[in-house]
């Protein structure tokens, strides 16, 4: 996929998201996550696709730490400022947890991300390059867990809704066409 196609697809998806956005105002924790990911995404888009010769040398070792510590900082600061728990946005508000449970989940995630960011730097400086690469990819398992969680509890209901809608439309069209002939 060419950079232009990739960007175009992303822009179209974002346009759809804008058109279909919920009309109620997002909470502050949602805004701060949006801004943070917007910035990280813009960085990724710029240096990954367009800027030459690419990112500054040695920055690759810092990238996971930047992400983890950014997330950890948001998760720690947002509740302190009374902006709610950002982990609700990441996991989704589909789970009926109490505020206390959300707080501990938020603290737990912030701790995990802080530790992961620190361990990344430690491994990058002390271990070999291959060991660092291995560590980096093993950390992605956390991403996989989150995706699977989301897939099960959020994407499947949406898919069910969409499928039922498409099926009903298709059967209605079939009935209509059958009545014509």
């Amino acid at each position: 996929m060419s950079p232009v196609t990739g960007t175009a697809l992303w822009v179209v998806a974002l346009l759809i998201a804008w058109l279909w956005r919920p009309r109620q105002a997002p909470g502050p924790s949602a805004w701060i996550l949006l801004i943070a990911f917007g910035a990280l995404g813009a960085w990724a888009l710029w240096f990954g696709l367009y800027a030459h010769p690419g990112e500054p040398a040695g920055f690759a070792f810092w990238k996971p730490t930047v992400l983890y510590w950014t997330l950890a900082a948001i998760m720690i600061i947002a509740p302190l400022l009374g902006w709610g728990y950002p982990v609700k946005i990441i996991f989704g508000s589909y789970f009926a947890l109490s505020n206390r449970e959300w707080r501990w989940t938020n603290v737990g995630c912030a701790t995990v991300y802080t530790i992961l960011g620190g361990v990344n730097l430690l491994v990058a400086s002390e271990a070999s390059y291959n060991e660092w690469v291995g560590f980096k990819f093993s950390c992605m398992i956390t991403l996989l867990f989150i995706v699977l969680f989301r897939l099960n509890f959020v994407w499947l209901p949406i898919l069910a809704d969409v499928s039922i809608y498409v099926y009903r439309r298709a059967t209605a069209a079939h009935r209509y066409l059958s009545s014509l002939f």
Binding site: W10, A13, L14, I16, A17, W18, L19, W20, R21, P22, L33, L34, F37, L40, G41, A44, G48, K63, P64, V66, L67, S93, Y94, F95, A96, L97, K136, F137, C139, M140, L143, I146, V147, R150, F153, V154, W155, L156, P157, I158, A160, D161, V162, S163, I164, Y165, Y167, R168
Partner: protein, 430 residues
């Protein structure tokens, strides 16, 4: 009547038994077979002529001449036809030789009224028979089978065998139920004074011991073909070697192969590797007939029931006075004290149709029902207490919130943002 052009080659000489000769003129009928063409005879409306094709070799013509000569002089005794049935021709037997310019070219035989008859093939399919004006019931079918067996029995008594016996070569009189056998010049004759072989066979009606071989015992071959025709007549056209194999790898695709391997699934003892066709009604046949079928299809040639045995077995059912056929509660004729095959067939076909429709309906509604079930499970809104308990049992670890008060479009918009965040996260950690 318009004058018909008389070509010299159409003027032929008929040689009747006792060498009485007569000059006649032939008119083409447009009907033609593998061996010859059929002509009408102008002064003999009750007869037709079969003239062998011009391509027939002289050697074959000589063989035919000897055979026809013998046949003209030795017409077999056939079952008596009651006086009320006029013009029934039970065999298209040669009645006179035909010579053209003193050269043998064919023979004359009695004309079979095609408007009064239909091919026996049509009786194997009730709908086809009805279209031909024949309302088939078990009484009529048994009578037809009995009449066919009677003719074959008479032929066997004279040491004559048909060999290539198949429904296409048999005509049935719609009202009288007598049968007429065609292509008599292909019969096998083995009398003391004359012998003639019959090389023509049809694999679907050929006994297992003669598959891929010459027919060494023509009467045994006739017995097999007769049993096959009777089975098909009584079982809605199902061939006795049509079945459902449990092991498809070793199941021959063609009937001849199944006959050769004895894959007969309708016996009183079930076959190990082949099952009956679901629409078969053979279980409604009397035990005596089933035993005859078993002997015909599941045994070797010597124990196969002869035409004489079939005559004896079918005679009691073909006779109206024997009381061996009686109407069922719906008025169909059936073998007394046996289930009604017609009702059985209707039930099987109707049941199959109901099951087919039900299956199709379930297949068509399956996607919607599955999605509905998944949705109810995810939202925990099952109306059935059992399903609700099942769904809750699967999700005891995580308590879900009530359905979010957002539309599907809003949810999709949020998920696009979420996936974008995921991609960014992936890019930053990769």
């Amino acid at each position: 009547m318009p004058a018909v052009e008389r070509k010299p080659e159409n003027i032929v000489e008929l040689i009747w038994p006792g060498q009485r000769s007569e000059l006649v003129t032939l008119d083409a009928t447009g009907k033609s077979g593998g061996a010859g063409e059929i002509f009408s005879i102008d002064s003999k409306p009750g007869f037709v002529a079969k003239i062998y094709h011009a391509t027939t070799s002289q050697a074959h013509l000589d063989q035919y001449r000897r055979k026809i000569q013998w046949m003209v002089e030795n017409k077999p005794e056939l079952p008596q036809v009651p006086a009320e049935y006029q013009g029934i021709v039970q065999l298209a037997w040669p009645e006179a030789l035909i010579l053209r310019q003193s050269r043998f070219v064919g023979f004359a035989m009695q004309k079979i009224a095609f408007d009064r008859t239909l091919e026996l093939d049509y009786l194997l399919n009730r709908r086809q028979a009805a279209q031909e004006g024949f309302d088939a019931d078990y009484g009529k079918l048994v009578t037809v089978a009995f009449n066919l067996a009677s003719i074959i029995n008479c032929l066997h008594d004279e040491r004559i065998a048909i060999v290539d016996l198949k429904p296409m070569n048999v005509k049935v009189y719609k009202a009288a139920l007598y049968v007429s056998i065609l292509d008599c010049d292909g019969f096998h004759i083995a009398t003391d004074e004359f012998r003639s072989h019959a090389p023509q066979v049809t694999p679907e009606y050929l006994a297992p011991e003669f598959q891929d071989k010459a027919v060494a015992h023509p009467e045994a071959q006739d017995s097999f073909a007769l049993a096959t025709i009777i089975f098909r007549l009584l079982n809605y056209g199902i061939h006795p070697f049509t079945g459902v194999a449990s092991d498809h790898n070793n199941y021959p695709p063609e009937l001849a192969g199944r006959i050769k391997h004895g894959l007969y699934p309708y016996g009183k003892l079930a076959h190990k590797s082949v099952r009956k066709v679901p629409a078969s009604v053979h279980e409604a046949f009397p035990d005596h007939l089933r035993e005859l079928f078993d002997r015909a299809f599941a045994s070797t040639g010597y124990s196969r029931p002869s035409a004489h045995e079939w005559v004896a077995a079918l005679g009691i059912y073909a006779s109206k006075h024997s009381g061996q056929m009686s109407p069922c509660s719906k008025g169909h004729l059936r073998f007394s004290s046996r289930p009604c095959p017609t009702c059985m067939r209707d039930e099987l076909i109707h049941g199959a149709e109901v099951r087919r429709r039900s299956f199709l309906a379930r297949v068509q509604t399956a996607p919607a029902r599955t999605l509905k079930y998944v949705k109810k499970t995810l939202r925990q809104t099952h109306s059935s207490p059992f399903q609700a308990a099942l769904a809750q049992a699967q999700l005891t670890l995580v308590q879900l919130a009530p359905p979010a008060p957002i539309s599907t479009r809003n949810a999709i918009a949020l998920e696009i943002l979420w996936i974008s965040g995921l991609l960014i996260t992936y890019w930053w950690t990769r």
